[in-house]
Amino acid sequence: MADVVRMTAAETAAAVNSGTLSAAEVTDAMLAHVDAVDDRVGAYLTRLHELAREYAKRVDERVRGGEKLPLAGVPVAVKDNMCLTGTRTTAGSKILENWIAPYTGTAVQRMLDAGAIPIGKANMDEFAMGSSCENSALGITRNPYDLTRVPGGSSGGSVAAVAAYEAAIGMGSDTGGSIREPAAFCNTVGFKPTYGRVSRYGLIAFASSLDQIGPLTRTVEDSALAYEAMAGWDRMDSTSIDRPVEKASTALRGDLKGLRVGIVKQFVTEKLGAEIHALYQQTYKELENLGATLVEVELPTADYGLATYYLIAPAECSSNLARFDGVRYGLRVEGGDVGAMYEATRAAGFGPEVKRRILIGTYALSSGYYDAYYVKAQKARTMFANDFKRAFETCDLIASPAASSPAFQFNAKSDPYSMYMMDYYTIPMSLAGLPALSVPCGWITPEGGDRPMPMGLQLAAPLFEEVKLLGAAHAYEQGTKHASKYDAMVVSA
């Protein structure tokens, strides 16, 4: 059984399609494993035993009917900001604690159509606001590599599920780094496609112009498979991109020959400490050893990423979260009149970080400040896009740390700013809409820690160059095999 839960998505799909394993067997094994370990990990807010078995049955029927499904029987953890008919969908918030989605979002539907099995709804920072999963109002998720540490966020539940073998694919969403940072923290691959590649229909919005769904997996190949299943134009999302999704899983490379990899001059790793600096120098060297040519590129606006992001994302969220008003669904706390009901509901329903961002966003959009904040931030965003365009004139991919540190312990980041800094390297790519991923690149034993924690290499590509990006990440993964050096604590213990 242990072997079944440890299989990659590619292995599971191959086994189920060939008939050597049924989706029902995979699902039963997986549900048993989840029941055994998830009380310690806390990846899932809701386990979908019945639904998973129902889908497994359907997949087995389809396979018996002669269909070959790219994700046949592959267990998937669905981040709890994605709607799946009949399932509780909370976005990690008290305000949606008991809300049952009456419809299924496009990306989830496409995964199910490809044969994936929904094992559960995964914990997350409330409304995807956070970098540690500690902002979930509904549960604690622990890092499977050290249960005293956070899994990262906001897609903390999805990544923990994948790292603890409680799913082969985690569906995550990334607004400023919410797939890539947790991937780095949990020794997994986390891939954010180009903005607009994956439909947002059915994804509970945080910041609409930045939100992007993507996979978390234990291998690059699995990310490629998941990407192929979920990506593509959707008539329900006008911001989704109408262009063909090139096959990435068959374009995975064995080396990096002929690729120019840009190292951003402004991303100074010395400030992350000697050990981390040394690790990334080693990582860049590994890229070179695999055939890449390293080139220095400039990203003059790098230091403005956080400031820009923390105007645009809160501004959009202040408007996106207005609908949680107690009128139609979710939590309602009665008040004397409708205004008092709004206030009581939102005061009780939203956590402190969500309230902070709604306040910042409301302020940034208000009359008299709009031009100075929101409009200026949008202009800065254009500068980021232009800076990247210029940088990509001399390189094919850009390499950088995926996060500023390894996974930290619970309650370690007491002020919001130090938490925001975790996304320093991922935010610029988000602002420019670029495809980017995190792939395991080594281990560091943090100060005060007693076990090595994984680190992630972020690779970013020009818009729509997902195939090139995944191909190179695969070469790096296969050429270094950092991920397999240590196993998760929760299963090895």
Binding site: N81, M82, C83, T89, A91, L96, W99, A101, P102, Y103, G105, R200, Y201, G202, L203, I204, A205, A207, S208, S209, R235, M236, D237, S238, T239, A315, E316, S318, S319, A322, R323, F324, D325, V327, R328, Y329, V338, G339, Y342, T362, L365, S366, S367, Y370, Y374
Partner: protein
């Protein structure tokens, strides 16, 4: 009154567009129905739902803009207007802030005396309607005193265009003329049904007064809750009067929103400017900016019908129809089109109008069949007019003929020929009837001879009857006089 005042009025009008589906989802755009049956995740603003703009609504906007010679910019976008309201599901309205689909333009309209007026448009922009609240449990339908509210979201997300006018209107009469012009234009373009009773047209008026001839504007108030053209007229009249009263008694007008009270016939204060919302407009990141294809604009332009002001100028100015007749025709587009075809065939606008608004409209009412769907084709009517004009038949026969053509008996000319109904001017033939009538009406003849010459009318009638209406009445009279000496 010591000073003469002039009113300055601008009007904001919300008009629901007639489309198959709602503005941002595929729910049907239909009035009424069981509450909350025409809803989906998008128009209920469920978590994760996204809007997709309705192309048909955008086409309608372009047509409306072109009808008023507005500019259709190459780029447009949707913005979010943020405020909390229970019947607005997203707690923001998708609207257009600084890049509306149409900019500028002129609404040309006419008053009852036929004067043409113009009111410039600031813009027409596209947005979405809200749901409807019903306040229950006491309070007679008002919020005050009610225990709870019920919301029907069937209307939420229905496409709505907002037409904003410049302050070019100077009286209540002009305001109604302007609104009627909007209404008939939108109906004729097919972009809206404009049913005020179903709420598909709602308007607010900004009213201020100033000494006649002054350049600066006075302080304005915004009048709401007007639910018919008549209440628009009454509310504006009442507000002008109120403002004059305030100024005359040494007071100042406060900038505020005032509600029209239909039963009391007055406006009352609703909220002052200080309580105005900060809507925090920003571009909706869920919707991509609109690029308006010039070819599309040209295509829509080519399909525009002749518009009301042009028709009015033709009917009233060129054909000499009076204002009422011209307006009556313009407000019944199929009839106006029918009339135009009759004019084209007969080259006789006045006679065409007489038949179309007279006998044909009467027959239409009696048979509940629209004129343009009756067996009477414009060619038939043109034949009939030619027969009358050429004095082949008289108007009495024309009337009878028309009824027979209406009943499907064929063309007027054919009936006239078949039944020999053509008027005769053959003196010999008419003389036979005259002799006959004189012989059988001895008393009348005697009366005439004794000086009662007005009996001639009766005798003429008898001759006409004997000839089955075919005799030329002028000839009949001549011959009678002759015979009677």
């Amino acid at each position: 009154m010591s000073t003469a005042y002039e009113a300055v009025i601008g009007i904001e009008c919300h008009v629901e567009l007639k489309t198959k589906s709602k503005m941002f989802c595929s729910c049907p755009n239909e009035f009424g129905g069981e509450p909350n049956t025409k809803v989906c995740p998008v128009c209920l603003a469920l978590p994760g739902a996204l809007p997709v703009a309705n192309k048909e609504a955008i086409d309608h906007m372009i047509a409306a803009g072109l009808a008023f010679s507005a500019e259709i910019p190459a780029f447009s976008k949707f913005d979010r207007k943020n405020y909390f309201y229970p019947d607005m599901p997203k707690d923001y309205q998708i609207s257009q802030y600084d890049m509306p689909l149409t900019q500028g333009g002129v609404v040309r309209y006419w008053l009852e005396d036929g004067t043409m007026k113009e009111c410039r448009l600031t813009r027409i922009h596209l947005e979405e309607d809200t749901g409807k609240s019903t306040h229950a449990g006491g309070g007679d339908g008002r919020i005050a005193g009610s225990t709870h509210s019920l919301i029907d979201f069937n209307r939420a997300g229905v496409p709505l265009m907002e037409c904003v006018s410049e302050p070019d209107i100077r009286s209540a009469e002009e305001a109604v003329g302007y609104l009627e012009a909007l209404k008939r234009t939108f109906v004729q373009l097919g972009v809206s049904d404009v049913k005020m009773e179903e709420g598909s047209l709602r308007c607010d008026a900004n009213v201020s007064i100033r000494p006649a001839g002054a350049k600066e504007y006075g302080t304005k108030t915004e009048i709401k809750n007007m639910n018919s053209f008549r209440s628009v007229y009454r509310a504006i009249e009442s507000e002008i009067e109120r403002q004059i009263g305030v100024i005359e008694s040494g007071g100042r007008i406060v900038q505020e929103t005032r509600g029209w009270d239909e039963s009391q016939g007055v406006t009352h204060s609703m909220r002052s400017k200080e309580q105005a919302h900060d809507y925090r407009y920003f571009p909706d990141p869920d919707l991509v900016p609109l690029e308006i294809d010039r070819a599309l604009v040209d295509r829509i332009k080519a399909t525009l019908p002749q518009l009301p002001p042009q028709r009015f100028e033709r009917y009233h100015g060129e054909y000499g129809l009076d204002v009422k007749q011209a307006t009556q025709l313009i407000d019944n587009l199929p009839l106006a089109d029918y009339f135009d075809k009759c004019v084209a065939a007969s080259k006789n606008p006045q006679q065409s109008m007489n038949f179309v608004l007279g006998d044909l409209s009467r027959l239409a009412n009696e048979t509940a069949t629209p004129v343009h769907e009756s067996p009477v084709t414009p060619e038939h009517l043109a034949e009939l007019i030619a027969l009358v004009e050429g004095k082949t038949i008289n108007s009495k026969i024309a009337k009878e003929l028309l009824a027979r053509v209406w009943n499907g008996e064929g063309s007027p000319k054919a009936i006239v020929e078949k039944e020999g109904l053509a008027q005769t001017s053959d003196t010999g033939e008419i003389e036979k009837f005259v002799v006959e009538v004189l012989a059988s009406n001895e008393k009348a003849v005697a009366d005439y001879k004794s000086g009662k010459t007005n009996i001639l009318g009766f005798l003429t009638g008898q001759v006409m009857k004997a000839s089955r209406g075919k005799a030329n009445p002028a000839l009949v009279q001549d011959l009678l006089k002759q015979k009677l000496g």
